[in-house]
Amino acid sequence: MATESNTEKLLERSGLSLPRGEVYLIEDRCKGCGLCIAFCPKHVLVVSDKFNKKGYHPPELVEEEPVNVCINCGFCERICPEFAIFVKEKKEE
């Protein structure tokens, strides 16, 4: 395990392979403020067209490999004022 994660870190540093994340959303909590979208370092979120129950547009995911992918940095989770969005580490398939 320890070796594995060290390896990952090395990879990370060399930019070859970053950790990957999965983005979760509790749709009806979202108020469509756009903060997660604006501050995602990898620009993987955009405004969706759909309305949630409260009439807001929640974000949607537009990952474009290899660069624009969720790296599980958790910034959207932290910046979201609504406890609506969060990420989990993507287990290697």
Partner: protein, 310 residues
């Protein structure tokens, strides 16, 4: 890949989820800061059953209503003395005051400097959104100079407080300032603040798109965060006087103060109840008392005919 639908959030165990979504406007930073607080709590393993949140009145003040802990939404400006009383009575509980700049520094300004002076063992999280959000966007003691609010329609002629600097000089043990953009460092700071024995204070500059941003060219919440990104300068051990914030100029964020630990106010109050003389005989005690001139003072008060006045 698309976003995965979820029903619960990792922080839900700290939240009264039945009350979500909360009252805060879309993009308001209060929720972000509350999230950081809860993450810090989780990180240091603070037991929510033994933790109390006290708020005053204001948008921020509504925070107490969303956390799944014993929580008190008091009166405008009086969260701190309520918390000081509660903490002194129950030093076994973790007490946090979570409130707005107006609540803590306009009407409540006196209490916070006194609580800092006493080194009461509470943590204060102050959300500084430059205005009174709840009442619709009036001037706050944090509104930047020339800022437009409903009660400064021609631009603010007052200078804002330097909250962190003021509390550092008032006597706090830990003082930091961050913004709602600095979510990670804020979280770290909150961990430290919560662990600190003594008065700890974390100021968080935050966006109020509805009541402040809209009137000051920051209609979109993102605008304010971009402003923070542009002007915030991270620094530690800041000289209190350096904490001044001026419009469209760099301002300092970081740890202002992290003082070595000292006995807290509650430590000292409870120590009194254990003072040695309390375990001695009445006779010894009365000697002790005379030694310590208590009786004499009461008497001399009577003798001098000084019953006080006014």
């Amino acid at each position: 890949m698309s976003i995965i639908k979820a029903d619960t959030h990792p922080l839900d165990r700290y939240l009264r989820t039945e009350r979500l979504p909360h009252v805060w406007c879309p993009g308001c930073g209060i929720g972000t800061v509350l999230g950081a607080y809860l993450r810090a709590m989780e990180k240091i393993g603070m037991d929510p059953e033994k933790s109390i949140m006290v708020s005053g009145i204001g948008c921020t003040g509504r925070a107490a209503g969303y956390v799944r802990m014993d929580s008190f939404h008091t009166t405008h400006g009086r969260a701190i003395p309520f918390a000081v009383g509660l903490k002194a009575a129950r030093p076994d509980l973790n007490v946090t005051v979570f409130s707005g700049d107006g609540d803590l520094f306009a009407i409540g300004g006196n209490h916070i400097i006194h609580a800092a002076r006493r080194n009461a063992n509470i943590t204060v999280v102050a959300i500084n959104n430059f205005t009174y959000g709840m009442t619709g966007g009036q001037l706050a003691p944090t509104t930047p100079e020339t800022g437009i609010t409903t009660t400064s329609p021609y631009g603010n002629v007052e200078s804002p407080f330097n909250l962190a600097g003021l509390i550092a000089v008032a006597g706090a043990s830990y003082v930091a300032r961050w913004t709602s953009l600095h979510v990670r460092r804020l979280e770290k700071s909150l961990e430290k603040a919560l662990k600190k024995r003594g008065f700890s204070f974390v100021e968080v500059l935050s966006q109020c798109p509805t009541a402040y941003g809209r009137r000051n060219r920051m209609r979109d919440p993102v605008d304010t965060l971009k402003y923070f990104q542009k002007y915030a300068v991270v620094k530690n051990h800041v000289n209190p006087l350096e904490g001044v914030i001026e419009p469209n100029k760099p301002f300092v964020v970081g740890e202002f103060l992290d003082a070595p630990e000292e006995p807290t106010f509650e430590d000292k109050l409870w120590e009194l109840t254990k003072a040695e003389f309390l375990h001695t005989s009445q006779a010894e005690r009365s000697e002790w008392i005379i030694e310590h001139r208590r009786h004499l003072e009461v008497l001399s008060r009577i003798i001098s005919g000084k019953g006080g006045e006014e």
